[in-house]
């Protein structure tokens, strides 16, 4: 499996109705919009093994591994419903994510990974990527 395939396969997996969150958690599945958005966020980092490494590091630092849908919910908190965001083109979605990250740093919403100060949103996106990798590996 090439690293390029991870994000793309994740999206395809989601669109095919195999959204892995529910499978992983056994809990109520999120909306299709949230699932699709999750896949698109993951695809922004196509081929980036490092994002998964950081995501695993973030997940390992938590007392309990969060449910994937909780990660999505946290990323979207106060940022509008997924269905208003999911249709954004890749570039626009990337810019939106950058804006969220920017706001995180302005409002001290950060996490520390081995001393690296990251936006909590970017850390959660990386965590999503780690979850996908684990599921698709």
């Amino acid at each position: 499996m090439t690293s390029y395939a991870i994000g793309r396969r994740a999206v395809l997996f989601v669109l095919a109705g195999g959204f892995p969150f529910a499978a992983l958690s056994g809990q109520q599945a999120p909306s299709m919009a949230e699932a699709e958005l999750a896949g698109k966020l993951v695809s922004l980092f196509d081929g980036n093994e490092s994002a998964a490494v950081l995501g695993h590091y973030y997940l390992n630092g938590l007392e309990a591994r969060p449910e994937p849908e909780r990660l999505v919910g946290q990323i979207l908190a106060h940022r509008g419903p997924a269905n208003q965001i999911v249709d954004l083109e890749r570039g626009a979605l990337f810019n939106r994510l950058q804006s969220w990250i920017h706001q995180d740093f302005l409002s001290a919403q950060t996490v520390s990974l081995d001393g690296w100060v990251l936006s909590v949103t970017e850390a959660r996106v990386f965590a999503l990527i780690a979850v996908y990798r684990d599921k698709l590996a």
């Binding site: 490092s50 990337f94 950060t110």
Partner: protein, 525 residues
């Protein structure tokens, strides 16, 4: 002229108009200002022309507070003093640093910047510092300095910080002025002359002479109309505390302030930045040539409003771009630190790759395209803070004695809650600004639960005989005269009321020149 006290007669009379103890930055600057005047001047230097371990051993002491440099390595006991190994960084103390800042305990000086700025002009000449961009009221204009570098600006935070320029020229003043001193007719420098006690009258309000010894045990008494201690930030206090024959607590120590408020600038290696764009040009913030003899560097000072708003002490952040190449000529300390922390840590490579991918920047392409320069490996972040005045931070005399029979010094270096708060605030601030400006991501090296463990000193010994407008608050008055003594003065960084911004030597020289003018004026009455 120069004389070796070891070859002088113990029975001779040594009487002068002005007697200066110490031939470092302060003593030599003061002496140079007095050459050619009608006054008969003597400088008593404890060492010779070169480093001698037996002489240097007098400086050995004990540190019982926060970790600090060995006291016999942070200063030098021979002609030229600590300027024999100083780094040469020069910048005046900002005007605001002289003012009382309500959120900083014990802050404020009894003088303002306008009282010292004319002497910065003359100090700049003496230290042979570049004139371009210089203004006595504001130091070197950072825009003029930066423009001369020819690299684009990077705005870290124009609201919270402002650029400051340091001009650097580690001139060895002992070498530069040795011949002038040798040829002078009214100035004598005695080498190997150790002051062991300041002699005072029964009322302890006038110095009557100085008890001077050689390490070989020869004894002398030097007398003068006026005496100036210029022996360094620790030794000035030690000499006053050691002079206890008439007053048990030492001369000038009626309010128990001698030795207190010991301070230094705080050096914190805060962490490193992995740049989003490895080709970014941050050369403006590196040390670059400035003028014929000087170099310069630009740092970012916290604005006064930022300090006020968050109740911080003053300080600056310095960005140190590290190129992706061998360690080169980095200092031993930096190299040791780099080895210790293994550069950017295990996650550094991954953070960098995430940023590159997120920014759609191919690995090194942008770096090499940008002026064709070597890409950055990382950007180290260094904080330099002015520690807040703290009376519990002090030097005092221990029980162990040296070869002269004098009690060795004990240093109890302490910091304050505001220092810790400032470091913590700056950590959060820099992490945010690095990301918000798109520079990259910041890795914090400071343990948030043990901030003081990250603090390193600058070898600046400050405030142990601090200037004040009230004898209860300090040791010397605005003219550097010791409270309660008619003819004893102190000069050097020990008289600084606070750390002040900027490295101290430039201000030490300015104060010495100011004192020279005062002595000439007073002696002329």
């Amino acid at each position: 002229m120069f004389r070796d006290l070891r070859e002088a007669s113990e029975t001779d009379v040594y009487t002068f108009d002005i007697c200066i103890v110490g031939a470092g930055a302060a003593g030599i600057a003061l002496a140079m200002e007095l050459i050619g005047t009608p006054h008969k001047v003597v400088v008593l230097e404890a060492g010779g022309f070169d480093f001698d371990p037996d002489v240097q051993d007098i400086y050995r002491g004990v540190s019982v507070g926060l970790p600090y440099a060995d006291l016999d390595t942070s200063r030098l006991r021979f002609f030229g003093g600590t300027t024999n190994h100083w780094a040469g960084y020069c910048s005046p103390i900002w005007a605001a640093s002289f003012d009382k800042q309500p959120w900083v305990p014990y802050s404020g000086w009894p003088i303002g910047q306008t009282d010292i700025s004319p002497y910065y002009d003359r100090a700049r000449d003496l230290l042979k510092l570049e004139a371009r961009g210089w203004d006595a009221a504001g130091g070197w204009d950072p825009e003029v300095v930066a423009d001369s570098f020819g690299h684009p600006p990077f705005e870290l935070d124009e609201n919270a910080s402002e650029p400051r320029a340091y001009v650097i020229n580690p001139v060895r003043i002992a070498e530069v002025f040795r011949e002038d001193i040798a040829q002078s007719e009214n100035l004598t420098v005695f080498l190997n002359a150790n002051l062991v006690e300041i002699l005072v009258n029964e009322g302890a309000n006038t110095v009557t002479g100085l008890d001077i010894r050689t390490l070989e045990g020869k004894k002398y008494v030097f007398t003068a109309k006026r005496y100036v201690l210029a022996a360094g930030g620790i030794e000035n206090a030690r000499l006053m505390l050691s002079s206890d024959s008439v007053i048990a607590q030492g001369v000038g120590n009626q309010s128990d302030n001698v030795g207190r408020y010991f301070s230094d600038h705080l050096d914190i290696s805060a962490g490193s930045i992995v740049p989003a764009d490895r080709g970014i040009d941050l050369q403006r913030y590196t040390r670059l040539p400035y003028g014929r003899e000087s170099e310069a560097v630009i740092v970012n000072d916290l604005t006064l409003e930022t300090q006020r708003q968050h109740e911080l002490t003053s300080g600056h952040v310095r960005l140190r771009p590290i190129k992706d190449e061998s360690t080169g000529a980095r200092t031993l300390r930096q190299a040791r630190r780099a080895v210790k922390r293994d550069g950017l840590g295990a996650l550094g490579e991954h953070v960098g790759k995430v940023l590159s991918a997120a920014g759609d920047i191919s690995e090194d392409a942008a770096a090499y395209l940008w002026y064709g320069q070597t890409p950055l490996k990382r950007i180290d972040v260094q904080f330099n803070l002015d520690a807040a005045p703290n009376p519990d931070s002090r030097v005092y005399l221990g029980d162990e004695t040296d070869r002269l029979g004098m009690r060795r010094v004990v240093l109890d270096w302490q910091l304050s809650e505001i220092d810790t708060r400032t470091i913590t605030w700056m950590n959060d601030w820099i992490a945010s600004r690095v990301a918000v400006t798109g520079l990259g991501r910041f890795r914090l090296e400071v343990d948030p639960d043990a901030v003081l463990e990250s603090v390193v000193w600058h070898y600046h010994n400050i405030s142990t005989t601090r200037m004040a407008d009230d004898p209860k608050a300090g040791v010397v008055d605005a003219n550097c005269k010791v409270f309660g003594l008619s003819n004893l003065f102190v000069t050097g960084s020990s008289v600084f009321s606070t750390c002040g911004g900027g490295a101290p030597t430039f201000t030490i020289v300015a104060f010495a020149i100011r004192l020279a003018d005062h002595l000439k004026k007073e002696a002329g009455k």
